[in-house]
Symmetry: C2
Subunit: 351 residues, 2 copies
Amino acid sequence: MGARIVIDTIGGDNGAEVCVEGAVEGLRQNPDVSVILTGHKKELDQMLSLYEYDKKRLTVIDCPEEITCHDAPVEAVRKKKASSLVVGLTQIKEGHADALVSAGSSGAVLAGAQFIVGRAKGVKRTPLAPLLPTAGNPSLLIDCGANVDAKPEVLVQFAEMGTIYMQNVMGVKNPTVAIVNIGAEEEKGNALVKSTYPLLKECKSINFIGSIESREIPNGKADVILTEAFTGNVILKLYEGLSKMLLAEIKSAMMATIKSKIGGLMIKKQLKKTLVRFNASNKGGAPLLGLKGLVVKVHGNAKKEEVASAIDQCYRFVINDVSGKIVRGFEEAAAAEKTAEEAAADNKNEA
Amino acid sequence: MGARIVIDTIGGDNGAEVCVEGAVEGLRQNPDVSVILTGHKKELDQMLSLYEYDKKRLTVIDCPEEITCHDAPVEAVRKKKASSLVVGLTQIKEGHADALVSAGSSGAVLAGAQFIVGRAKGVKRTPLAPLLPTAGNPSLLIDCGANVDAKPEVLVQFAEMGTIYMQNVMGVKNPTVAIVNIGAEEEKGNALVKSTYPLLKECKSINFIGSIESREIPNGKADVILTEAFTGNVILKLYEGLSKMLLAEIKSAMMATIKSKIGGLMIKKQLKKTLVRFNASNKGGAPLLGLKGLVVKVHGNAKKEEVASAIDQCYRFVINDVSGKIVRGFEEAAAAEKTAEEAAADNKNEA
């Protein structure tokens, strides 16, 4: 069985063009993938006519309505039933698709995923978990979504979901999990970290290695970087903002004099090779985990490479049944908890 | 009146040498400064014999005990009365000095500052507030200290202290204050930010400009970046870690081939000029605000430039009476609050 992936073609900064290009590229790379494009059919058909692709594996659904970043997310998702996002998510809900990729409004994508696709059984909250580029392999930063002020039990679930994702989608054998903290010692941290730390230590389904200070994140010290959504959002956006600013400063240094311009040309090739690893667009966007299906938010300014890469990510997610593994993991945990409670109750009755 | 500044010469990674060099440099730069070195007198006297400096303005106090980062901070400060840190802080407490600079254990410096120097009147908590390098002027990041899970009223005080600091030490006329948030809109955020935001809007002694997303921090969008200590610590350390990693990657790209090495040499001068602004050691360390005096924590690996720069920072802090301005600001606020309460009580009695 392959993977059926919806591409929402409305709402990204670069228009439907990059979605069409990315979809065609995705079909070429993965023979087991089929794609549904939701958006303005006439425009999409025109664009598609320029490409060669396997027509049996690509469908277009016409959606007259648009959701933009100016719409209030929850209201937009409720009212704009004929929008490319809502129609696409409904495809997953009704079993016609496995995953959706969108470059549209983050708020609307998160809200729509919750309302329309819905949480999988046993999942308390659905975290947004982008891959961060590091000096080593990319790390999964979980959670950067809308779950601010989350409880310790919720963070433990995030650690479990992140572990399953890294194993199945990124092929990491025994992914290490670290919690973001302000010191390496167990007794350090705020109230949330102090309550979560012992639960992570006890959790048997993850490979917990303790605290991570944020200065260590860029070194790729852990596969799964666990944190509450507010801090996660701060880390993600600072990562992007600081990298961008530093690279801009370096570029302007290279352009300062004729000598430095020539020097810049001479290191360009090597620099590009090094920096390509720090290009977020190769990482395929941020998956929203714990849904009955998969929703991937790519950057608003995503180009075709990021869309194609997101399709590849969805494909690996679907064929490795990550959603099913998450649900079964939580069912087993709930059953074990129940058995333990019953045993405790029996002991009490006997006493 | 000048400024009397203690340099704690024990506990830094680079030993007493950088403290001596920084102190001599500080004395040279600021004719109104006098310095007290606390540490191993014999060693310090030997080092000092290599330099020319105004001997009337430099004293050495012999301290046989050492506090290291392996000591439990609170216990170390309580028990090691003859350590360079405790002796130095006691100089402030007893009125013999105005400020102390230390490259030693952060925990011990923070704990010692609280216990020995003590909070100024009206101050609820004492924030650690380093200057962050940005594409524009440096921004004060307040708080990165030990006040995790702080209350909204505490954050408002931090905004006020940061404002006074930027006005008096950095010479910024009407410093802008922004609160770190996960979106630009007022209704975004976690519970703490949502409760603090309206209080900041009401606060008349600051120039509040709303939320700042972390991706904007490197652009220097605000003079005072307000945040709770956990997030602040994450921002500070990620800033340092990511800059370091990116620069290391760029350097290794330059060293990859003969061509890139030559190119690297050609841009070296310009690159250095650009990157010098991102060198934390020019910023003179992080002041701990709201004390009866000033304590500045410089990096563990501080070099003489950072020590000299910290001395300069202390000098401007002292001659501009920043501590006094903070205390008077809070006294006025408390008095205004009391008057308002009394007026309300009078109204009630009359009714």
